[in-house]
Symmetry: C2
Subunit: 682 residues, 2 copies
């Protein structure tokens, strides 16, 4: 029972705090130099950026290049779905781990893509020049069309290049990001889940910690290991107390710049909904796991995902319920608005923005249940998700690039296809359990008499409909490819029950989405742009935008903290892991560890806590030192960091990493994975 929320968040003054998820082209070099005496010059920053990577397809994660021949390091939990997907014929790589003894034993992950950011361009003017005099639907349509156009021009329709226009500062700025895209990514090494996630859900988001949450992957280019100039050298020594640390990675999203009415919507509507939905799903999955070993195996990734998200949301919700914290947010907004009103030009340009956002969110609240359950809902079913994508693709792809739903823009297609045509196994029993549950919740949330519910269920029970749907043949990737290629005609002719359901649902789903985008989203975007400009006007632009699952760099140091009146030391060691071992899940060390104990240096630093400002999406990020050597691997934050979505408190927020010292010791002495160690230390 730890105190989740610190009493003081440093919201306004960033003076000496290690706060910030900085853009590489706006790194606060002077501030870091002043506090830590180290200058991160342009060459250093460029090398670090090019050695960093983003990983999609296994949940959004970060990663790093750690050898000259394409070796990539990330978390076990970022590759969990791949590891599970590759398990078959009695081989359970989740339970037993995986190690490719030779290059040719490396196996391709069906859905993982690695992206390397090679170039960023400020396109704010290009976009705002197009949208500046537009309102409502027209604003939103032109904004999206321009983004799709810029992306297509950038990627030149190459599948090897990925281009994304990224909205920064809620529309205050727009950057065009160009990535090198790699889709042939192979699994090299993963330890047993028991040590990757030692302590399980009870220890998740806690510290002290003892996890080897690592996976090694390799990026292939044209069938061969990718040769790279930029990669992080590996430090066998790991991190030291008080050492200056940098984290590069892709924090998924923060909400630090949101207005009070947006935060209230999160606190009182969205997060409450998420908390109960995820809690119930968690209970159901826990029950499903009891059915047998195989059922446990095939539902573990989902259960982890649900528990991890639930814990994160509990922490975020608790932060918003913390009145000290919320009052500071309210005060900060009040102060900003007063300054805006005090300047006649600013007042004219920006003062209406907050009221406009409040009004838009009031409307959003009224349609939220329908938007969430009719359009955003994929019934927790992999197969339904595939059917929905195929049905939508048949409508969207014939349109000009600029007029499509953004997820069907040309720039998004390579990743969409990777996932759509993935050969990863789908388990009918698990699909059925999820479908029955999702259809039951659909009826519950919209009400049994809602036209959409009666249209979907008719007189059938959720159980009956789920049974009928599972006659789908979409498990066959060939069929998916055929339907994708066949377009509208193929969809129209298909008698596949899952396709028919997706077709049946599509008009209502489109209608509520259109209502949201044309009548609400556009107002939020326009007003948010004004809020961002108001903030720039008052506070200047030398700050960092909210996280957007794009590359950022944060700085900090390995550092202890106070909790419930005592000091938490920032570095754990192997000895602590053995002391915590009870022999029972989730506190059972793998047999490999127990066997190797006598060979291990038990003083080896294992996990460490640092002040780096990170959030979900940073999982798998490298922690590097001044020499740009990797000394750690981010895998979590402490419980106090969960409020980080809304603010940063250097006193208690900590990023949690595996020390590279532990990786070296374990790879050599426990797993005999010399091929990897050689690659790392070369």
């Amino acid at each position: 029972m730890k105190k989740i929320i610190a009493s003081l968040f440093l919201l306004t003054s960033l003076a000496h705090a290690d706060e910030g998820m900085w853009l590489f082209d706006a790194f606060p070099t002077d501030k870091v130099k002043q506090k830590y005496g180290f200058t991160a010059d342009e060459a250093w920053l460029k090398h670090v950026r090019l050695s960093s990577a983003r990983l999609t397809g296994g949940g959004g994660c970060s990663a790093s290049f750690v050898s000259k021949n394409g070796l990539v390091m990330s978390n076990h939990h970022c590759a969990h779905s791949c590891i599970e997907q590759l398990s078959k014929n009695g081989k359970d790589y989740i339970a037993n781990g995986f190690y490719a003894k030779t290059l040719k034993d490396e196996v391709r992950c069906p859905e993982i893509e690695v992206d390397k950011l090679v170039e960023t361009t400020d396109v704010t003017d290009k976009i705002q020049n197009v949208t500046k005099n537009l309102q409502g639907k027209k604003f939103n349509d032109e904004l999206k069309a321009t983004m799709s156009r810029l992306e297509k021009e950038c990627s030149q329709s190459s599948d090897q290049v990925r281009c994304d226009v990224v909205t920064l500062f809620n529309g205050g700025k727009y950057h065009l990001y160009k990535y090198q895209r790699y889709q042939d990514v192979r699994l090299v090494f993963a330890p047993e889940l028991a040590i990757a996630f030692f302590g399980g859900d009870p220890d998740n988001f806690n510290f002290p910690r003892y996890d080897l949450d690592v996976s090694f992957l390799r990026v292939y280019d044209q069938g061969k290991p990718l040769q790279t100039k930029d990669y992080f050298k590996f430090s066998k020594d790991g991190a030291k107390d008080n050492e200056l640390t940098f984290v590069t990675g892709n924090p998924g999203g923060t909400s630090r710049l949101l207005t009070i009415s947006q935060l209230e919507f999160l606190r009182d509507t969205k997060l409450i909904n998420d908390l109960t939905t995820l809690s119930e799903l968690r209970g159901l999955l826990t029950g499903f796991q009891q059915l047998g070993k195989e059922q446990k195996r095939i539902s573990t990734a989902k259960l982890f995902q649900v528990e991890n998200r639930l814990k994160a949301i509990k922490g975020r919700h608790a932060a918003l319920l913390d009145t000290n914290f919320f009052d500071q947010k309210v005060a900060a907004e009040k102060k900003l608005r007063e300054k805006i009103i005090g300047n006649s030009q600013w007042k004219k340009d920006y003062a209406s923005a907050w009221g406009e956002i409040t009004a838009a969110y009031k409307d959003l609240k009224n349609i939220y249940v329908e938007l969430d359950n009719i359009e955003r809902n994929n019934l927790n079913s992999h197969l339904f998700g595939i059917a929905k994508t195929l049905v939508r693709a048949s409508v969207e792809l014939p349109k000009p690039n600029e007029e499509r739903f953004r997820e069907f823009a040309d720039s998004a297609l390579p990743q969409l296809k990777l996932s759509l045509f993935s050969k990863a196994p789908i388990y009918p029993q698990f699909e059925k359990a999820m479908l029955v549950h999702s259809l039951t919740k659909l009826r519950e949330k919209l009400g049994a008499d809602h036209p959409f519910v009666t249209k979907v269920l008719g007189k059938q029970s959720p159980e009956e409909l789920a049974t009928a749907l599972l006659k789908t043949k979409l498990n066959d990737t060939k069929l998916r490819e055929k339907l994708y290629a066949g377009g509208a005609k193929a969809i129209e002719d298909s008698k596949d029950p899952m396709i028919r359901l997706a077709v049946l649902m599509d008009p209502d789903a489109r209608a509520i989405r259109k209502k949201f985008e044309d009548e609400i989203e556009t107002r939020i975007k326009q007003a948010s742009e004004k809020v961002a400009k108001a903030q720039f006007a008052v506070n200047g632009t030398s700050t960092y935008p909210d996280a957007t699952f794009t590359l950022r760099i944060s700085y900090g140091q390995v550092k202890s903290y106070q909790e419930n009146g005592h000091e938490v030391k920032p570095i754990t060691n192997f000895e602590g892991a053995f002391a915590r071992h009870t022999g029972r899940e989730p506190f059972a060390l793998p047999k490999t560890w127990l066997k190797a104990k006598s060979k291990l240096d038990l003083q080896t630093p294992f996990n460490f806590a640092s002040t780096n400002d990170i959030i979900g999406g940073n999982s798998g990020s490298p922690v590097i030192n001044q020499k740009a050597e990797v000394i750690g691997l981010i895998f979590d934050g402490n419980i106090q960091s969960l409020g980080g979505d809304y603010g940063f408190d250097e006193a208690q927020n900590r990023a949690v990493s595996v020390s590279t010292s532990a990786l070296a010791e374990a790879l050599q002495k426990i797993y005999g994975a010399n091929r990897i160690v050689d690659g790392l230390l070369k």
Copy 2:
């Protein structure tokens, strides 16, 4: 997707609203006469009071005497646990219903007790004279001791008499309630769950509705049907639109008089905790139900209880999140406090109370997780609950009556023993599932390193400990009787693992309870008494106290209401039920109904909505007309009524009842239960 919270709650002016759960000795006769032209005289009120009943042991419910020979009517869901407990040897009375064709086929319910309120006495002075100059622990101890003493004097240690001191207006008044207690209560009739709970969770708390949520029980006295002078005559005609209706019953609890800081605690701490806890349990139970028919049968009552509570709490939480509503509460408190400050005597006596409550709740928040999980937690296990009761009894019973925990006071023992020695079956597989879950949640909520958790679990996993605990022999009621009789020595000598666990836990549980009672509860009580007196001073005493699961009477009328812009008619009929029938759970009518359809008058009024102010605990309440004939049976409220915990809105809050016309038609034409009909119409 209905709008849960009406925009306007009538908080202060009760002028013309049918608001109020009135004490029988403070019924607003004039107000009713003025609005409805009917005078409820003393004789009428007395007859109504003596024809009403309270039902415990199946969840707290209400009931009514409906024949001169002890026939009692309540809801199916109030007798659900009894119906389930009596099912065995392949007889599933939940699925198939139950009907005792002759008197000797009536079967005793293992845990149900019926109480009839025979006398109430105002003991406010007796109590406040004792406590008036006391503070802190001393105040609380003396308060409880005086209550136990008054109760014992009243009941004269007779098991047939139950006496409770009831705290009204949060301590503004104390009444002593004397009940005739009946523990030989037998099941006479119950329909199939499919019609008792037609529409299931989706329709729960909704209207229009089509449920026959009824059970008939019979109270026996010395082995024979109880002969009573006071009972409600049964109207075959049921309720008519706009008819004046009275509801008598035992509303469980409301929070309309709480201060803002108390409501904030509910909104931001307690209800959030309940929402996630219940949601997860719901998911787990839904999973458990998939295991098989028998598993479904033995977990249905629990699932209903959890879903019902979850829905109610969602509604309550939504009411507190409604800013219009909450702002009215804040304004009302502000106004009251201003008036108190404006009068120097009131200021001196009462003005500090709100601050004192705020401070006490701040402390409560700090210990809430421990209080909730160490003391109030019974691990969701029937057998652990028994062990805990036995262990506590061995310590408490040797103490003088006044010094015991209140639940071990002499006045509480008959009901405690009824439950403790009940022969109702306990299902090991279900117990195990609940134990594993509860122990896992205990570890999660307190944290894996909490001393209480390490003490309870040691190195064991929740699964292992649950397995070990299920070697308990407490399923044997003889053993329970022996341990109860054997006292401390028997407990000390017992090697029963569940007893040993309860012994292990007891010191910590007592410690946190003591901390709560001595340091927090006592301050809340003292300050609440001041708030109540402040309210009396400003608003007078001609109002009703918050509900306390004691007998109240509310008035109102059968009435339509507006929802999402259209009128909801207040009375449904059998035809509507057949139209809603899909043949699939929970919208599948029983075979008996389908078979009897042609014989039924499909225009028979089925369920109806009325403006009576009720809340959970009123389930099973009779709805009566001016002639004190029963015309309906309360079983639910509409979704808009869920905010009723904090306020009443006559425009939309509706009580939902089974019309007696439907009962008569179904009993005769579907169930051929002529023996019951004869009893009712005699």
